[in-house]
């Protein structure tokens, strides 16, 4: 398959995944805030911290109010992590390779894009937000389902997986990082009941709550939650699952030696650590390492299979 098409499908998958993850974290944050006492509620800023887009945010907004942060994540096209940008970019990538993806996928993606744009005013209200985000999440899930059920499971499908799982691994580590660190003041005994809520919200950000209960069979605690989200290979959003999926796709591609080496390093790093033994600071450093590894893996994919960046032509690709 064409290198350019491989790159397009990779980015399409990343952006679809990004739209879904963004919709998830906004939903969960809204729910969490309703459960926490006003005085200690962390508000909306952690969401911006998750994506590391603080500088961009502060350039355009005065404060981290709900209204501003939600707008930044749902509607703001200047933010490449917003649902609006992600859907525009996913659609643009898909449009470029319309000959390649099943036409129902294009139609569905187009439909979600149109919905997200046309129902935006509703999505920006408190009352309409939930339904709006739910539809974005479902839309992304539908696209994934349609792709797995209708697309040729050839090299293109491998690149689709690479995009999806790389983006997902990235987002999962970000969510754990921010959600576990800054939520509650540490060691405050009277806030104990809320600690559970905090970790429940971490799980719910990834629709992992039910899976956690079934799999771990214990109440929601920091250690087991971290182990579950990092190391449970059966949960499709855990970091280890994402890395295994990446390795499986990589192993089917030609000239894969160095990419496999980077992915193997990631895997060893992940398996050689017991996340529940890490204190907050160590956990943060561990996640930093993982993120660097994820970034390196992307670089390696681009170097090996994607076309060299054009020198003079208009870049039609939307990238980070």
């Amino acid at each position: 398959m064409l290198s350019r098409v491989a790159e397009n499908i990779y980015w399409m998958a990343r952006y679809v995944e990004r739209a879904e993850n963004t919709a998830r974290i906004v939903t969960v944050n809204a729910n969490l805030l309703l459960d926490l006492p006003k005085g200690i509620a962390p508000g909306w800023r952690p969401l911006v911290d998750i994506t590391g887009a603080n500088a961009l945010f502060e350039e355009h907004y005065k404060d981290y109010s709900e209204r501003n942060v939600v707008r930044f994540f749902i509607a703001d096209e200047r933010n490449t992590g917003s649902i609006a940008s992600a859907l525009i970019a996913a659609r643009e990538n898909c449009r470029t390779i319309r000959d390649f993806v099943p036409r129902e996928v294009w139609e569905l993606l187009n439909e979600i894009y149109l919905f997200a744009r046309e129902d935006l005013p509703k999505g920006m209200t408190k009352g309409g937000r939930h339904a709006y985000l739910k539809r974005v999440i479902q839309g992304a899930q539908n696209i994934n389902g349609l792709l797995s059920g209708t697309m040729l499971h050839d090299q293109g499908y491998d690149f689709l997986h690479l995009g999806r799982f790389l983006e997902r691994a990235d987002m999962t580590t970000r969510i754990i990082d921010v959600r576990s660190a800054n939520l509650l003041p540490e060691e405050t005994t009277e806030l104990r009941p809320f600690e559970t809520i905090q970790w429940v919200s971490v799980l719910k950000s990834m629709t992992a709550y039910q899976a956690y209960r079934r799999s771990e069979q214990i109440r929601v605690l920091r250690g087991p939650v971290l182990r579950f989200l990092f190391q449970n290979g059966s949960f499709p959003r855990s970091v280890v699952h994402c890395i295994e999926a990446l390795r499986a796709s990589l192993s089917k591609l030609p000239r894969n030696e160095s990419a496999l080496r980077v992915a193997g390093r990631l895997k060893r790093n992940l398996e050689g650590t017991e996340p529940r033994r890490l204190n907050q600071q160590q956990l943060h450093a561990f996640i930093d390492d993982l993120q660097v590894g994820i970034g390196e893996l992307h670089e390696e994919l681009a170097r090996t299979w994607f076309p060299p960046p054009p020198e003079t032509q208009t870049q039609s690709q939307t990238q980070d």
């Binding site: 398959m1 064409l2 290198s3 350019r4 098409v5 491989a6 643009e92 449009r95 470029t96 390779i97 319309r98 000959d99 390649f100 036409r103 294009w106 139609e107 187009n110 439909e111 149109l114 090299q155 690149f159 591609l253 030609p254 000239r255 299979w305 076309p307 054009p310 003079t312 032509q313 208009t314 039609s316």
Partner: protein, 485 residues
């Protein structure tokens, strides 16, 4: 409530659906449309609009700002109908025409017998903007230059069908013909079943076979690609659609590469892969910066070299556009007689070649009744429509013609036929033309009908989608037609 056909103002025109001017319409269809009722018709039209939007059937209008990159394709659900017996004649006429044109193009790039024999003036060739000296002496596979041709047909008030022009460079619109059919099946299934229009869906496989027949490596499974300028091109939708339907790679110039062996390769995940046939949707001058415009980044350096070496087939062949010239058009009846020793089956619109003194004089004297066209414009640009022109415009054009008579032709202003079209909540007549597509390689194939384009503005004759035109599904209907009511 029923549709008031008496209020349907079609006077002086030939309507493709409504009986009049001495022709019999396919009567049952009118009754069936009427039975649906105006509310239902409007509802179906809305369903079609939603469908088109969701299917992402789009085209680009360059002149518009911002969101114009993919405007929804304008489509009217009332089909345009042609009886199969008439179509068989048109089909034969189009084959004949394209056959003669291909012989003509091949002759121009070789011995130019047609000029030596005094049938075609050397002067016209000398001033042709689409003649490519780079192609002289080249022998494309099967001697065919225009593998895909889109010829525009119009019907005048007396019911005669004429060829208005031939597009032999990179004619577009066939994807809309296919999509129109798909949408019509969705929104008018009951009518569809009843009238059983002949299918059009085999075009992509016919196109693939046409292209594959040109492969320089016939023993292998040929690697056919569609070459597009990219997503900002107005016809990008069509490029990706055709690639998808044929199961080919859709490539941009930067995906291709001509190696020292003069073969074309594409950059793939597995490394370089050989390409045999390029269905190029890029104009000649942008194809290869080594041979044409050195600044163009759209094409592939060395592509012409590979083509001349016979290592890759290009469709349409570079230089085929020499026959797009409207002055060449004016000679097609003579070309058919010269190359095929036969009379043209479908006539040209009567055409005055301003290079001939009598025609020039006639044109200058009758400009308010004529349409004046420059030889090499497309998309409806640069014309003078006499009856709708001002005195100043006519004077301006008279100067242009006198300065360069070879570059102009004139034709009587035709009264294009109409088809009922949903405008607001009722049916009004709108002018239409028809673009069938003719494929030529080891054999010829004509689409079953073609793309019917509609001038959406009242009274307008401009059907080009780049100028706000719409489209309709075209039905070739087997006979006998339904009994008259």
């Amino acid at each position: 409530m029923s549709i008031d056909w008496n209020a349907y103002p079609s006077e002086g025109f030939y309507d493709e659906l409504v009986a009049g001017n001495g022709h019999r319409a396919i009567a049952g269809l009118l009754a069936d449309l009427e039975a649906l009722g105006p509310e239902e018709l409007v509802a179906r039209q809305e369903a079609a609009d939603v469908s088109i939007k969701e299917m992402g059937i789009t085209f680009t209008v360059y002149s518009e700002e911002g969101g114009a990159i993919d405007r929804t394709w304008p489509f009217d659900i009332i089909p345009r109908i042609i009886a199969q017996s008439e179509w068989e004649r048109v089909d034969a006429g189009l084959r004949q025409r394209v056959q003669a044109l291909n012989l003509f193009i091949d002759d121009l790039y070789h011995d130019q017998k047609v000029i030596k024999d005094g049938v075609f003036p050397a002067e016209v060739l000398a001033k042709s903007v689409n003649f490519r000296p780079q192609c002289v002496g080249v022998d494309p596979p099967l001697g065919i230059w225009a593998h895909i041709c889109g010829s525009d047909l119009v019907r005048d008030a007396d019911g005669t069908l004429y060829v208005l022009e031939d597009n032999l460079r990179v004619p577009s619109g066939v994807s809309y013909m296919l999509e129109n059919r798909l949408v019509t099946k969705r929104v008018l299934p009951e009518l569809f079943e009843h009238y059983a229009p002949l299918p059009v869906d085999d075009y992509p496989s016919e196109l693939f076979d046409t292209l594959a027949a040109l492969s320089p490596r016939p023993a292998d499974y040929p690697a056919v690609v569609v070459l597009t300028p990219g997503i900002y091109n107005s016809a990008y939708f069509e490029h990706s659609y055709l690639a998808q339907q044929m199961g080919c790679e859709l490539v941009e110039g930067r995906d291709l590469f001509v190696d020292k062996d003069d073969c074309v390769y594409m950059r793939t995940v597995d490394g370089l892969a050989r390409v045999d046939v390029v269905y190029r949707r890029i104009d000649d001058l942008f194809l290869d910066p080594e041979a044409f415009l050195p600044d163009s980044a759209l094409g592939v350096p060395g592509l012409m070299r590979a083509w001349k070496a016979g290592n890759v087939a290009l469709a349409n062949a570079p230089g085929a556009g020499v026959a797009d010239d409207k002055v060449v058009y004016a000679f097609v009846p003579e070309l058919i007689r010269y190359y095929l020793d036969a009379d043209p089956i479908i006539p040209n619109v009567p055409t005055y070649r301003c290079m001939e003194p009598d025609a020039l004089a006639y044109t200058l004297e009758n400009m308010e009744r004529l349409v004046v066209k420059p030889a090499n414009e497309s998309g409806g640009y640069g014309m003078l429509v006499g009856p709708a022109s001002t005195k100043a415009e006519r004077e301006h054009f008279a100067e242009l013609i006198k300065k360069d008579p070879r570059n102009y032709i004139s034709q009587p202003a035709l009264k294009l036929s109409t088809v009922p079209t949903i405008i607001g909540k009722k049916l009004e007549p709108r002018h239409v033309d028809l673009r069938p597509f003719i494929l030529s390689a080891d054999r010829q194939q004509v689409t079953m009908g073609g793309l019917t384009r509609v001038a959406m503005r009242k009274g307008s004759l401009v059907v080009n989608s780049s100028q706000g035109g719409g489209s309709k599904d075209t039905w070739i209907v087997p006979e006998p037609p339904q009994a008259e009511e």
